[in-house]
């Protein structure tokens, strides 16, 4: 399968009070077309930072000191801001851990959902609204009209995550980067959201980069797994191989934690 996205030798540093911290060093990753790649690791292992660096949405005290992110023959890290804005959210979209805080609390769901259509596709507000309603049914929200007119705080966490997924899919992205999208949710809701993501991927045909600390999720959805530890990729392989014969001790830690807690 062809490589859709290639991260090469990525190194990201954070400027702290007295010294710099290297959060990601020498990370190489490939995301193939139509695959689900799970990026696993404990908190602080650099998985989110690597994912955010892809479209340069890192915090202001972080900088990429080395590396390339190749997408469609272009290096996103050296692309100018205007061209990158056309990729970000349009061709590479994100969903995050806390849907309730990722959505704007002072706008109704409808008003936020029409934005990508108007911004990236130049649609009229009326057309955009129709598109937004179609999206909400796509993510299996039953009560579309009510949700459109609700504020995020009036909806549950699972519902907000569905809205956020809908928003990220507005422009038919080729890559969806999901940064722990189910960590703040109940297990029952988590199972529903995972199922939804896999279904949507089949229907729409994007590649999914899924970040998690929970190996039970890898077990359920992954084609391939990449394990990060202390800023570096320590192991990579097909899901069966990783589970059957993990090589790095951190992979074994993650699997044994899953066997103890995540598994019935």
């Amino acid at each position: 399968m062809e490589n859709l996205l290639q991260i090469q030798n990525l190194e990201v540093r954070f400027r702290m009070h007295k010294y710099d911290i290297t959060a990601v060093k020498g990370v190489c990753l490939e995301l193939k077309k139509d695959e689900i790649l799970v990026l696993a690791g404990e908190s602080g292992s650099g998985k989110s930072v690597a994912a955010l660096a892809v479209t340069r949405i890192l915090p202001s005290n972080a900088r990429v000191v080395f590396g390339k992110v190749i997408f469609k023959g272009r290096d996103l890290l050296s692309l100018d801001e205007t061209s990158l804005a056309g990729v970000r959210g349009k061709e590479i979209a994100y969903i995050f851990q806390e849907p309730s805080s990722a959505l704007n609390p002072v706008y109704t769901v409808g008003n936020q959902l029409i934005e990508p259509f108007m911004l990236h596709q130049g649609k009229s507000p009326r057309q955009a609204r129709a598109e937004a309603e179609a999206l909400l049914s796509l993510v299996k929200i039953g009560d579309v009209k009510r949700v459109m007119d609700s504020y995020p705080h009036q909806l549950s966490g699972g519902m907000n995550q569905r809205v956020f997924i809908a928003m990220s899919l507005a422009c038919n992205p080729q890559i969806l980067i999901a940064d722990e999208p189910t960590t703040a949710l109940d297990v029952t809701i988590e199972a529903e959201i995972l199922k939804l993501l896999v279904e949507l991927k089949k229907k729409i045909g994007f590649s999914l980069l899924f970040i998690t600390h929970n190996f039970s999720i890898a077990r359920r959805i992954a084609d391939r797994v990449c394990v990060m530890y202390k800023g570096a990729v320590v192991e990579e392989g097909g899901i069966e191989r990783i589970f059957n014969s993990p090589r790095h001790f951190h992979t074994r830690d993650l699997i044994s934690a899953y066997e103890k807690i995540g598994k019935i």
């Binding site: 109940d186 297990v187 029952t188 044994s256 103890k260």
Partner: protein, 250 residues
């Protein structure tokens, strides 16, 4: 019985508008009953909104119940505020950000007159050791610790007063899976060491599988099913329990 909860019902008023007119009630708990022996671990499982935390707060007498009653064995529990302790989900919120660790842990020692002033520093160090931290933590602030370490500090603070029963309200849900596994080991080690009785609240059946003796499954304020953990996992009687099991399995 160490703890007997009988027909607990809890209504919250729904208030509207500027003058907080009451327009009916939400029934958060509906006729909940269970009992627990000393030294046993009870798991309470359910989705968000099922009333687990409300039930914990009523057992702790942090909230008054609308109906029913909670009874502890009077011969075992003298001072409720000392003998029953609770640990919450979010260790970021349950430590005072401006209190050094030594002060946070000294407070219960002073309030409950556990040890003389000159012994406090040593007692706090011993408590930290119990939860796998060391003296270097004494003069630091909560923000200098990770989520898992903060939860360990909360555990040390709870142990300071020598409780008989600890209510663990989703104590590991906000942490990484690897850290969750380590904390579960810590909980079970401490239980053995101090002969504790646990009530362990979780939304995930998989978490309570290995550590509880009994399980109470809740939905919408009601007890859907209760029984021995092994029986419930092998042979769930209710549809809802099966749904929870399936969700945990994936």
């Amino acid at each position: 019985m160490f703890l007997e909860v009988k027909n607990i019902t809890k209504d919250f008023p729904v208030e509207h508008g500027m003058f907080r007119r009451s327009s009916g009630v939400v029934r958060a708990l509906d006729n909940v009953s269970f009992s627990l022996n000393e030294f046993e671990t009870l798991g309470i499982v359910g989705e968000s909104g099922s009333g687990k935390t409300t039930l914990a707060k009523i057992i702790m007498k942090l909230l008054p119940a609308t109906g029913g009653d909670v009874r502890f064995d009077a011969s075992r529990i003298g001072n409720l505020r000392k003998d029953i302790q609770i640990i919450f989900q979010n260790p970021y919120n349950s430590l005072d950000p401006k209190m050094r660790i030594i002060d946070a842990l000294a407070e219960p020692l002073i309030i409950h007159r556990i040890c003389p002033k000159r012994m406090i520093r040593q007692t706090v160090s011993e408590l930290l050791e119990l939860v796998g931290l060391n003296e270097s933590a004494l003069n630091r602030l909560p923000r200098e610790f990770s989520g898992g370490e903060r939860q360990r500090i909360c555990i040390a603070r709870v142990l300071a007063v020598g409780p008989k029963c600890i209510i663990l309200d989703e104590p590991i849900s906000s942490l990484d899976l690897t850290i969750q596994a380590k904390l579960l080991d810590l909980f079970m080690g401490l239980k053995k060491k101090f002969n504790l009785t646990y009530i362990f609240i979780s939304h995930n059946l998989a978490v309570v599988k290995n550590i509880t003796d009994f399980v109470l499954v809740m939905k919408d304020g009601r007890v859907v099913e209760q029984g021995k953990t092994g029986d419930i996992f092998r042979n769930p009687g209710r549809e809802y329990t099966k749904v929870l099991l399936a969700a945990a399995k994936g």
